[in-house]
Amino acid sequence: MTNDGRMTANRRIAVLSAGLGTPSSTRLLADRLAAATVAALADRGIAAEVEHVEVREHAQAVVSATLTRFPGPDLERAIASITGADALIAVTPTFNASYSGLFKSFVDLLEPGSLDDVPVLIGATGGSERHSLVLDHALRPLFAYLHAVVLPTGVYAASGDWGSGDAAGAGALPGRIDRAGRELAALLAGRQARPVLEDALAVDADFEDLLRSLD
């Protein structure tokens, strides 16, 4: 915080949610996780801006990009908002014991390296508590593969969770959301804001070096 009490060090948080309905409980969980993170960052005097990517709005474009290997203009902007953020909150519904196919198809469009060292808060929704391990057997390995920093706490919300309040104790959904938000805020507070991605077209070495590297 500066002397006059204004918040500094703006962080950009991208939220990727792959719910299918409107409104969707997946989006609801994503919003709550984002709000908890922003509040926990504010406690530390750090301002944050949140940018939402709703996968459903890009559904056709995701399939087209999978086939043509290039994203259309709107999808390209959505991908850039995720790969350029300081942190990612990723939330998917649970379908047939894993993330939704559309969610994975979107993630498949991210270039290798684009989430390197990026803090990721994972979340999932489902019909019953019995799917909660989707966080640890599907989402966590996915983002670990992408070399992201996956937070220890992931948040799974079953339908029943939306009807339980703080009275349910520390294990209730609001408590888990707050805890995840605090973890992400603490991680972000200890890091510099991410520099703007450098031009992917720059070659590291002069061509002579490329030639010599083969000797």
Partner: protein, 372 residues
């Protein structure tokens, strides 16, 4: 063929694809004969270049481009024969040096080639290579090819090929001038760097991605061309691909091409024709629409030397392809030639030809002799 500012032509992938409107798939034999007919017709309608792809897996037929191009050379007079692309990673550079020097002699110098890495995974192991070594392979193989064509006796040792001691490729390049080389790439700055380093041409296929994507790659190539001391960025040699389907009436073109687009191997069942034409250089419509779109390419890429169109893919029948060539040669290319000549800065080089390169070599030798 000297003094030609821009060359216009076609490039063929050589795919064997079912015609979705008739359910008919050509045999390999038919498709190869069609390619021969298409190339000869390209010359008849006044196009300057015919380029052929190289593939080693069905449903593509051209695995041996110099055989096909050698036949076309014997049946044509003017048209320049090129490739799209020659696989610099999985072919032996010694064999490329021999094959294309031979083709140069057969075709009286009407030969150049576009080198590419190839993106079909299994082709690498089938030819004893590793796709993860794609860039180093392209770098080492081309360095050897470049020497084989310029140095009589070569001693060489590298990582990927058996060493050579006292080796001379035969035949030597026609008139002592190797075929002009373009380096093709969709997304690798290293290949643009390679083209710039040698002062060779750079070819962007400009088909599957938005033009803006290639714009950055070509801008980078032009900048590095200057860095390596070959001239100003505007003096670099740039070729572009492109894609069009034309009928005199715009709506007829859209109606006729749509089933081919919707079932095409690469983009079929994905984006709509309208999305794809908005996002990539594919233009489906009247000759004027194609002229407008492609006359605008130099605003994105700078004045350039070669424009090739893909016209014979996705199962389009031979008759249709020949009609496309009639429209291309009759109504599109002559207008593009005129329009792109207007305001072309004097420093922009003409398209490369064997005759011009022989003349340049002679001039260089003369000036060297004069200074001794």
């Amino acid at each position: 063929m000297t003094g030609q500012q821009m060359q216009f032509g076609i490039f063929s992938v050589g795919d064997v694809t079912e015609d979705p409107t008739t359910g008919r798939t050509p045999t390999d034999a038919q498709r190869l004969q069609d390619i021969l007919t298409i190339a000869q017709h390209a010359e008849e309608v006044g196009l300057d270049v015919f380029a052929l792809g190289e593939h080693h897996n069905p449903p593509f037929v051209p695995s041996s481009p110099t055989t096909v191009l050698g036949y076309i050379a014997g049946r044509t007079e003017r048209i320049l024969l090129s490739t799209a692309t020659t696989l610099i990673t999985t072919n032996d550079p010694v064999k490329i040096a021999e094959d294309y020097a031979t083709l140069q002699h057969v075709a009286g110098g009407r030969v150049d080639l576009v080198l590419g890495r190839g993106n079909t995974g299994p082709v690498y192991p089938w030819f004893g290579q590793d796709i993860r070594q794609g860039i180093p392979l392209a770098v080492e193989h081309y360095a050897l090819l470049h020497r084989l064509w310029r140095q009589e006796v070569v001693d060489w040792e590298g990582r990927f090929r058996t060493p050579l001691q006292g080796f001379t490729t035969t035949p030597r390049p026609l008139d002592g001038v190797p075929p002009f080389v373009w380096h093709g790439s969709i997304r690798s700055p290293e290949i643009a760097e390679q083209a710039a380093y040698y002062g060779d041409g750079f070819f962007a296929n400009n088909i599957f991605w938005p033009a803006e994507h290639y714009q950055r790659l070509i801008g980078y190539y032009r900048q590095r061309f200057e860095h390596y001391g070959h001239g100003t960025p505007a003096q670099a040699t740039v070729g572009l691909g492109g894609q069009a389907f034309v009928r005199p009436r715009s709506q007829d073109a859209v109606d006729e091409f749509r089933p081919y687009f919707d079932h095409a191997p690469v983009y079929g069942h994905g984006p709509s024709l309208e999305e794809f034409t908005a996002q990539t250089p594919l233009t489906v419509g009247s000759p004027q629409q194609v002229v407008d779109r492609y006359a605008g390419m130099r605003d994105l890429f700078g004045d350039y030397q070669r424009q090739l169109f893909l016209v014979d893919h996705a199962g389009l029948p031979l008759k249709t392809v020949l009609e496309q060539l009639d429209l291309l040669g009759g109504e599109i290319v002559p207008v593009l030639r005129r329009e792109l000549a207007v305001g072309r800065p004097a420093e922009v080089p003409d398209a490369p030809t064997h005759a011009a390169r022989v003349a340049a070599l002679a001039a260089q030798q003369e000036s060297e002799a004069a200074t001794v």
